[in-house]
């Protein structure tokens, strides 16, 4: 992303949000764009995880580690059986593969992938475990959405895009299991900032974050 938020066209020739809205002379699909444009991190809040794309990848990798830990705990809890257990196991495997892909992408850019996180979840019943999983999946989907316009390298963007919708799939599946709406934000998914995501995730993370 451009480091100069005042410019109208960034160095890749893309029109900035501020420039676009100003030049278009008003709202652009007002409600839709307010939902879509809010909450991203133009200032690069993921910098605590590394520079540029490496920081974004490591931030998302940290969340994948959290999700992997959650599903591992759910599978071990003995609360689930049958098709629900199979789904939890599958989602855990998929989160592990996402983590591996993000780590590979970070290495490709010359970065050190973020290490695993120690996590703790209170899983007392099927309902509480599913609610926790839904919360973390929605958080993750919003985190990916918040970073999609911050990624510079094409290969890193392709990786992030390919995972983003799968997190949405996971969230919708668990919402279906709970009998809750599959699209909690409505027709336009809402992004979250790094700060908001970490604030929500921190209660479950027992290890130090960067």
């Amino acid at each position: 992303m451009t480091g100069n938020s005042e410019s109208t066209v960034d160095r890749r020739g893309r029109v900035s949000r501020r420039g676009f809205v100003a030049l278009a002379g008003g709202s652009v699909g007002a409600a839709a764009l307010l939902a879509a444009c809010g909450g991203s991190d133009p200032g690069g809040e993921a910098a605590q995880f590394g520079d540029g794309d490496i920081g974004v990848l490591n931030y998302l990798l940290t969340l994948e580690h959290l999700e992997t830990a959650l599903y591992a705990d759910i599978v071990k809890s003995g609360l689930f059986e049958g098709s629900q257990l199979a789904t939890m196991r599958k989602f855990g495997e998929e989160e592990e593969e996402h983590a591996a892909a993000l780590a590979k992408a970070a290495k490709r850019l010359g970065g050190d992938p973020a290490g695993e996180v120690k996590a703790s979840f209170e899983l007392e019943s099927v309902g509480s475990a599913l609610s926790r999983a839904e919360e973390i999946e929605n958080l993750s989907a919003a985190a990916y959405l918040g970073q999609l316009t911050n990624v510079e390298h094409e290969s890193a963007l392709a990786t992030v895009l390919s995972i983003h919708t799968v997190e949405g799939r996971h969230a919708a599946t668990i919402a279906t299991m709970l009998g809750k709406p599959i699209t909690p934000d409505g027709a336009f998914a809402a992004p979250s900032t790094v700060k908001a995501v970490l604030r929500s995730a921190e209660p479950f993370i027992a290890s130090e974050l960067p």
Binding site: A36, L161, G168
Partner: protein, 217 residues
């Protein structure tokens, strides 16, 4: 910027549009300079045209995406009629009817946001084509809807990196996540895995057009 003559974009048209970008940026600079000289009042239509020229690629991308949103709106509206392609009653559970209603409503909102974006860029939204869906029951209906949702995710993921305006990227990203959620819920109706693959791959223009052609006789 004139609206594209053909919504079914060929690669050669895409390449031609890409060469417009530099010219568009120059026009934009001219517009801003004109605004500086003649005052803010001069900027309106001049800048709108210039911005559309800068985003010539975005207009083309929007033209490519719109038929997918038209199709999705149409398929859910078609199922909401409550009859199959043989004009027999379509048996749906309450949950399935609810899913069709929600997905249809959200696809209409996607369509509205994209057509609004086209208009704001100074373009004219491509017209809707005639659609044809053949399904006999809930299983075959959700099969068609699932194919369409999956292709839509693929084409958004393919085109998103090509989008010039950050505001369009953000809008498209917020839409594609919702398409992913629809896709999972629809696959569950057929007792399929909600994730076909661990990663949602991009779908290039030509295979995406093949999907469109299946539904547009």
């Amino acid at each position: 910027v004139r609206p594209l003559a053909s919504p079914a974009l060929a690669q050669i048209e895409i390449a031609a549009a890409t060469t417009e970008l530099t010219r568009g940026e120059l026009i934009l600079k001219g517009a801003l300079a004109a605004g500086a000289v003649y005052g803010a009042a001069a900027i309106g239509p001049f800048t709108r045209r210039a911005l559309a020229a800068t985003d010539g690629g975005d207009l083309e991308i929007l033209d490519f995406l719109l038929p997918f949103e038209y199709l999705q709106v149409a398929i859910y509206e078609r199922a909401a009629d409550g009859v199959n392609s043989l004009r027999q009653k379509l048996e749906l559970s309450q949950g399935q009817r609810q899913l069709i209603e929600v997905a249809g409503r959200e696809e209409r909102q996607h369509l509205g946001a994209l057509t609004d974006f086209v208009s704001r860029l100074g373009g004219k939204p491509v017209a809707e084509k005639v659609h044809d869906f053949f399904f006999v029951d809930a299983y075959t209906f959700f099969g068609l809807a699932g194919t369409l949702e999956l292709s839509t995710i693929g084409i958004y993921n393919y085109l998103l990196p090509e989008m010039k305006a950050d505001s369009l990227r953000k809008l498209a990203a917020s839409i594609v996540q919702v398409e992913g959620r629809h896709s999972a819920a629809i696959r569950l109706q057929r007792e399929e895995e909600p994730t076909l693959y661990t990663f949602d791959s991009p779908l290039a223009r030509l295979p995406a057009l093949n999907t469109l052609e299946k539904f547009t006789p």
